[in-house]
């Protein structure tokens, strides 16, 4: 029986809470309501109010309290109801959690879970893919699973990790993607990319929901005789540069794809590293496909125009294949 992405995350958290009595959850509406997306459904019933803490609407206090609890030996998993609201807890993440190990050797092993991404007509404040706010901050680990299998394995790794992890769950994937999960205990390492699809001619380097967009486009390009390799980064910080470069050296062409808007997005970083370290292997410019530099619009025609999709990617792939 395959598990959905949301079930996989829930199962991963549940297993970690059963394994380690120091793991507890805090966030808005995560208890009796089970979370806005039901990720924590059933947790209150199983673990009780001590370990499943409904908080006031106070993102800064949620993250700050998680940090303080982590100093005491606990393993807090904080939920930010929508990644868009993470800005309200920004200082605690980027100035407090990210820097305390470097400054005074005080690890803050917290997980901040944040449902991100568009495609659900959520409008400007329920749709953002804002990982770049955090990839620019040393000290944080930034994880964005694309599949149910990875979501479970990565949330377990995140909870066990000794550094603060920002865990972006794509809300459009919660019930749309499924996997047959491995039997029994498994984890997926943070900092390791996955070759999602092997190919020969062009590498598409991407993550989160865009992995599935890339898969659709790759299927279409196959019929045109272009073999596309898809690298699912899974983690942006630390970045698995080795897997990216190995793929580009093999295919000699690369497109970086992400849902976040273009300017200052993580795609620029990947493109720069490929250019710096694999320039001699390239047979064309490194392209980027990303959302335009606007807020995420609400109505279907505008949002569809905003989001990268298979059509837009096919267009880029054709252009690069001809180059």
């Amino acid at each position: 029986m395959p598990s959905t992405y949301v079930e996989a995350i829930r199962e991963g958290i549940r297993e970690e809470m059963e394994r380690d009595a120091n793991v507890f959850l805090l966030g808005e509406d995560i208890g009796i309501y089970g979370g806005a997306f039901k990720v924590t459904a059933g947790m209150l019933e199983q673990f009780g109010e001590r370990r499943v803490v409904d908080t006031p609407i106070s993102e800064s206090a949620i993250v700050g309290a998680a940090i303080g609890a982590s100093f005491m030996g606990l393993r807090p998993v904080a939920e930010i109801q929508f990644a868009d609201f993470i800005s309200c807890g920004f200082d605690q993440i980027v100035n407090y959690a990210a820097k305390c190990r470097y400054r005074w050797n005080a690890p803050a092993p917290i997980v901040v879970r944040a449902p991100c991404g568009g495609g659900i007509h959520g409008g400007p404040f329920h749709s953002q893919q804002n990982e770049a706010w955090f990839t620019h901050t040393p000290g944080l680990k930034v994880v964005l699973p694309a599949t149910a299998r990875d979501a479970k394995g990565l949330i377990k790794s995140a909870i066990r990790d000794n550094d603060p992890v920002i865990f972006f769950e794509h809300k459009a994937l919660y019930r749309r993607v499924k996997d047959e999960l491995p039997e029994g205990e498994y984890t997926v390492p943070i900092g390791k990319a996955n070759v999602f699809r092997e190919g020969k001619h062009i590498s598409v380097i991407t993550y989160s929901a865009m992995v599935h967009v890339a898969a659709e486009a790759a299927g279409r390009m196959e019929k045109e005789g272009v073999s596309v390799e898809i690298i699912d980064l899974r983690t942006l910080t630390p970045l698995d540069e080795e897997t990216i470069l190995a793929s580009v050296r093999k295919t000699s062409k690369a497109i970086v794809l992400h849902e976040a808007n273009l300017t200052g997005g993580f795609g620029g970083e990947i493109a720069a590293r490929i250019t710096e370290k694999a320039f001699e292997d390239l047979d064309g410019p490194v392209l980027r496909l990303a959302a335009p530099d606007t807020p995420v619009p609400y109505c279907p025609p505008l949002e569809e125009a905003y989001l990268p999709n298979a059509d837009k990617l096919v267009e880029k792939l054709r252009w690069l294949a001809r180059y």
Binding site: A61, A65, M72, D163
Partner: protein, 349 residues
């Protein structure tokens, strides 16, 4: 310190002869005298270390960054810090140096910290009061005021989670109470009935901004009822008054009754930092508040109550000067960290 013939029960009662007290009262009086002398030591040590940092090392260019001192406010960290248990978690603000000494941090580590040396608590990674040591249950402040409040609330929640009767203590200034973090953190802690003691040093100024432009209520303590939390206002320049309030607040928190706020009225006898001449502060305020110096008041009380002699007080100061001289010498000989350490410790793995 020798035992005194004449002892005092309580802060304000007139001196009585030892033979007039029952054994319990004698023990209590001895305890009081001991607390008074320890308070004087830590307040005077904080004053001396900060004087050297601000008025010598900083002016000599040996402190590479900013200096923020708690001159005139020493009674607050000392009175409350001596009321905390060693197993309690402390979240000092940037004017609470004495808490570090009470927890066993050596003055030489503090000098090295200010000078950016490898012997400082952050090995040159951060400066001034931005230092902590988890083994000593001291948590480093960050520059954004009140950011410690939610973190301390989380530590208090963890204490409760772990079923212990320790307390998390957090210190902050009046200016910090304007930040959202202050309100969010306290609200969460009160809702959770977490064992948190909140200590405000209301020194009347946030950098150059007077309290009247910081908040419209009269006292910081006035904010407490909005959170369903008890509060008390104390003379922040009276170390024993601060101590007694802190003991009461901690007992409240340990009993599972939730957070407790202590507002200590005091005055910042300096600029915001060493580079700030504080021209915006009316001179008469400095003059009036200098009459209320917590160190001189404690010395006077020790003499008045017979808790110690002038010679003993002078010996405390002499010992501090010696310790401080040696500490500066050590810190100046501590090397800078090697540039090869730059990339270390951003991540644990």
């Amino acid at each position: 310190m020798g035992q005194q013939v004449t002892v005092i029960a309580g802060n304000t009662m007139p001196a009585v002869k030892l033979q007039e007290l029952n054994p319990e009262q004698v023990a209590e009086s001895h305890e009081r005298a001991d607390l008074a002398r320890r308070s004087l030591y830590y307040m005077a040590l904080m004053r001396e270390v900060e004087e050297r940092i601000e008025r010598r090392l900083y002016r000599q260019g040996k402190v590479v960054g900013g200096v923020y001192v708690g001159r005139g406010q020493e009674a607050i960290p000392v009175g409350s810090g001596l009321a905390a248990r060693p197993s309690d978690m402390l979240f000092p603000s940037h004017r609470d140096l004495a808490l570090y000494f009470i927890r066993g941090v050596a003055p030489r580590q503090v000098f090295a910290q200010y000078m950016g040396r490898a012997g400082g608590l952050t090995r040159g990674r951060d400066g001034n009061m931005h230092m902590g040591d988890l083994d000593r249950k001291l948590v480093a402040i960050i520059s954004a005021m009140a950011a410690s409040i939610p973190v301390a609330a989380g530590a208090a929640m963890a204490i409760k989670y772990q079923g212990r009767d320790d307390v998390a203590w957090v210190w902050f200034g009046d200016g910090a109470t304007s930040r959202g973090d202050w309100h969010e953190g306290i609200n969460l802690a009160t809702v959770r009935k977490a064992p948190l003691v909140l200590i405000c040093n209301n020194n009347q100024y946030a950098y150059s901004t007077p309290l009247s432009k910081q908040m419209a209520c009269r006292n910081v303590a006035d904010r407490a009822p909005g959170y369903g939390m008890p509060s008390v206002i104390v003379d922040g320049n009276d170390v024993l008054a601060v101590h007694d309030a802190a003991v009461k607040a901690a007992a409240h928190a340990r009993a599972g009754l939730g957070p407790y706020l202590i507002e200590c009225k005091t005055f910042r006898m300096t600029g915001h930092s060493a580079h700030d001449p504080a021209d915006y502060v009316p001179k008469h305020l400095f003059e009036e508040w200098s009459e209320l110096c917590p160190i001189r008041r404690m010395e006077k009380r020790i003499l008045d109550q017979g808790w110690g002699s002038s010679a003993e007080i002078e010996e405390i100061h002499a010992r501090i000067r010696r310790e401080t001289d040696e500490a500066i010498e050590w810190a100046q000989n501590s090397p800078y960290p090697d540039a090869s350490e730059l990339l270390d410790g951003v991540y644990g793995s």
